[in-house]
Subunit: 311 residues, 2 copies
């Protein structure tokens, strides 16, 4: 017998993914930000689910509106990572019978406010008794058939970018982040991004996933990684860079742009968005080889690599 803790989340999913039945209309199954399925017509559908669980994703005294915001925001961020348009969601609520209904109403108000801003309808849901409070959000989105921006498209020479700034999100941003839906759709429409994902488990861990799917490597420049003020303010003995590389729950976009289009891309981005976008490194040829260098060219070894659910 092997436990979830021993095997780790990624390997658990890999073992379970082997067992599931497929259909001919499934374009992208388990292993990307969302599943992509073909349906009659000009659009592919995007299917995703995210859980927000008490003591894992929020503390018992977190503001309930923020919990709803986070649950919907995670699903919106998944759609952003493919360049998709949000359509419909179901929200399942698990809670002990002693939970105040007013708490649940506040959660739903936070969920509804963010969903409405992105034209995501909440069309169903369920409530069930359980030992802790949980939200499970299932989302359906769409994009033009065949145009999903996957994790698998990065090619050697592509320049890696991240939106916003990273690290220290536990100080509050993990509860009130802004999903990058408009940015993701714009990146897809302009065909700027060869590969894209959102940063949920930390830049290093998530980049490793992109490299695995793209069968490529990458070199990151540590001084280019955009460090959030929350990471600079952290006083726990870990450096701001370590926070930026490993904390996760940033919900920023990580994507690759072909080198030949970098100048056009940067000009077009600045003309369209106020949000900063930073080039942090390049894609290299050797599969799985991820190197981090400081400004002198010295190779750094990060102290802790992202967030692991069962570690």
């Amino acid at each position: 017998m092997t436990t979830f803790r021993q095997l780790g989340e990624r390997e658990v999913i890999r073992r379970l993914a082997r067992l599931v039945p497929d259909r001919a209309d499934v374009r992208v199954g388990i292993g990307d930000d969302v599943a992509v399925v073909g349906h009659a017509g000009a659009y592919d559908l995007l299917l995703t689910s995210d859980a927000v669980i008490e003591n894992t994703h929020f503390l018992p005294d977190a503001p309930p509106e923020s919990i709803g915001h986070k649950a919907i925001g995670r699903v919106l961020s998944d759609f952003a990572a493919m360049g998709g348009e949000p359509l419909w969601a179901l929200v399942d609520l698990v809670a002990p019978a002693e939970t105040p209904v007013e708490w649940a109403e506040s959660v739903y108000r936070g969920a509804a406010r963010l969903a409405a801003r992105f034209h995501l309808a909440i069309v169903g849901g369920d409530t069930t008794g359980g030992p802790v409070r949980e939200l499970h959000v299932f989302g359906v989105g769409r994009l033009p058939a065949g145009e999903a921006v996957l994790r698998s498209g990065a090619r050697p020479g592509d320049v890696l970018y991240v939106t916003g700034a990273l690290g220290g999100s536990l100080a509050g941003r993990h509860l009130d982040f802004e999903p990058r839906v408009a940015e993701g759709a714009w990146l897809r429409e302009g065909r700027w991004a060869t590969a894209m994902m959102d940063i949920s488990d930390g830049l290093l861990v998530d980049l490793e996933r992109m490299l695995e799917r793209s069968r490529a490597g990458a070199e990151l420049q540590s001084q280019r990684v955009p460090v959030a003020p929350d990471a600079l303010a952290a006083k726990d003995g870990r450096s701001p860079l370590e926070h930026a590389l490993g904390d996760g729950e940033d919900y920023e976009l990580l994507f690759a742009v072909p080198a030949a289009r970098v100048a056009d891309f940067e000009a077009a981005w600045k003309a369209r968005f106020k949000l900063p976008c930073s080039s942090v490194g390049t894609i290299t040829a050797e599969p799985g080889r991820l190197v981090l260098r400081d400004r002198t060219g010295r190779v750094l070894t990060p102290g802790r690599a992202g967030y692991e659910h069962f570690a």
Copy 2:
């Protein structure tokens, strides 16, 4: 402050449903077996989600294959209740870090076996740490646009039918039931059913929901209610009829057929299915009035009305 227990599941959902954002393409939102949304093309999509939670929906020592079977079966039963065709599902697993991966693999094997039989692809999923083991399944199905069989279509004079037999499912059937997907699709295709739903919380509670949506009443004949052998064998002081009316987790179909088509319907059903189908009563005009009579015409008052999640 009011707790979930004080308000009850139905009223909690009613209060939360008021808060959620809508879209023009939502045909049926919160309140039926599944949500129905319009999409470009000849089909409507069906969206549903169901949770299966340790100590609520299964005991810790339940066979893991059965837990997977139940989780997928509940979603398939939702599609059956609309007359829909299953397409894709996501499966989210919550589990403590000490959970054996072999347990999860057995759960997935049970889920995969049932899903494959109904051509339901499992296209994604997630694993998250939490205090008890849970499965959350999100399903997408379809049917020809505008043809979903809702709870709201029952009319006075219609005859009420249930498939199979009811009661005592906790003895085992709740873990290995057969979702009535073929039966539901056949009822829709032949336009036999004016209203339909699956029986998850007990015949009386679920029929009340149909009556509420149809703004109608009903009269049930107690001697016609098909009582399952498990209900006859129960030795807990409650009568077999009480079990059949109130236990729930039957996952049989409850539907209404216009009186003028009853003879044709019964002949067509018998020619097509071996599964029994029993007429149990009729729809009446007075909204919300549900009457249960014995064979002498005397009105019975059931002792306990179905299953309530937070009671």
